[in-house]
């Protein structure tokens, strides 16, 4: 796991990507049934996604958000089947 705080002068953003709600998530389904099998009987649904922590240098918090959204649109998420969200984890200027 990466360090929690961003380097001085940089902004750490987290991009979280999930399959869209209307898209069947076979990985999530498989994980849910495995959890159920080992006794976690309260699990009604699992969605499997992924997240990316990025350190951006020399940008403001607002810029970092905008750049992260562009990166998500261009590469990190496939918006045909996935949604994403951007979160600023740490900004130090």
């Amino acid at each position: 796991m990466a360090k929690k705080t961003a380097k001085k002068g940089s902004v750490r953003v987290r991009v979280t990507v999930f399959p869209r709600p209307e898209i069947l998530d076979p990985q999530g389904k498989a994980i849910a049934s495995a959890l159920e099998r080992v006794g976690f009987d309260k699990v009604s649904e699992v969605r499997a996604g992924k997240s990316f922590d990025l350190d951006l240098e020399g940008v403001t918090e607002a810029d970092a958000r905008e750049v992260a959204e562009k990166m998500a649109d261009k590469l990190l998420a496939n918006t045909v089947v996935e949604d994403y969200s951007v979160e600023i984890l740490d900004a130090e200027s």
Binding site: P19, P26, Q27, L76, N78, V80, V81
Partner: protein, 238 residues
């Protein structure tokens, strides 16, 4: 015809395509390395199957941003022929050259077997060597071939007749819910073309069934048509 087969790190069907184009169809063929935006004069560009860039992030996602794809995009924009097979189809979708995406197979398994597809359009630069409605037996080998598109894109594909191949049973019956739709694709879609028809993306592997000695040559007419050799190779009148 001058043909180029793109090799990404992790491609593994590039030599199969090369072999069929060169040795079965007697075409000029060269490999095109991914990190140069240069098609070396290729008129037909093939994005082969495999695991480009190890399928990191998503299948085809990193390959779609590689230098060669800039050249492929320009070639396609000028009406040039581009064929994406399996992982190559993923690259075409990720690059936006064709609409939609491929999800994990409905079965959650890597499916490696022969399937049946119906030729829905026999008037494309790829399929003139077939009769419309013909059922082909083609091999597939993929974990993510479950085609999905937005409602709007799907409507356009269907209304403009851009679905070229659909999974079906041995008799040509198409049923999205049945096991014949091997990966669970929307509308049992196995292959689509661009609006101009010059780009074809498909999950099955025609290059793996192009020689009778290997037990099946149902895929040969596709590659032969693409290189303009259907008449000589298949003895067709058109």
């Amino acid at each position: 015809m001058r043909c180029g087969v793109v090799t990404f790190p992790g491609s593994n069907c590039d030599h199969d395509v090369y072999h069929v184009l060169k040795h079965v169809l007697s075409q000029q063929v060269g490999f095109l390395w991914h990190d140069k935006a240069d098609l070396k004069g290729a008129e037909l560009v093939v994005l082969p199957g495999g695991f480009a860039y190890g399928d990191y992030l998503r299948g085809g996602a990193l390959a779609a941003l590689s230098p060669i794809l800039e050249a492929v995009r320009e070639h396609a924009d000028n009406g040039g022929l581009v064929l994406g097979i399996c992982n190559g189809f993923q690259v075409l979708l990720e690059s936006g050259l064709l609409p939609g995406a491929l999800r994990r197979n409905r079965s959650l398994r890597f499916e490696c077997r022969d399937v049946f597809v119906q030729v829905e359009r026999a008037d494309t630069p790829w399929t003139e060597g077939y009769e419309e409605g013909r059922v082909l037996r083609l091999p597939i080998a993929h974990g993510e071939g479950n085609y999905v598109a937005s409602e709007a894109d799907l409507e356009v594909l269907e209304e403009t007749g851009r679905v070229v191949f659909r999974y079906c049973d041995t008799d040509g019956n198409v049923d999205e819910e049945s096991a014949s739709n091997i990966n669970g694709s929307q509308n049992a879609i196995a292959g689509i073309v661009s609006s101009e028809g010059n780009i074809l993306g498909m999950m099955p592997h025609p290059e793996r069934c192009s020689e009778a000695i290997l037990g099946n040559d149902d895929g040969l007419a596709l590659l032969a048509t693409a290189v303009g050799a259907a008449t000589e190779v298949l003895g067709l009148s058109r």
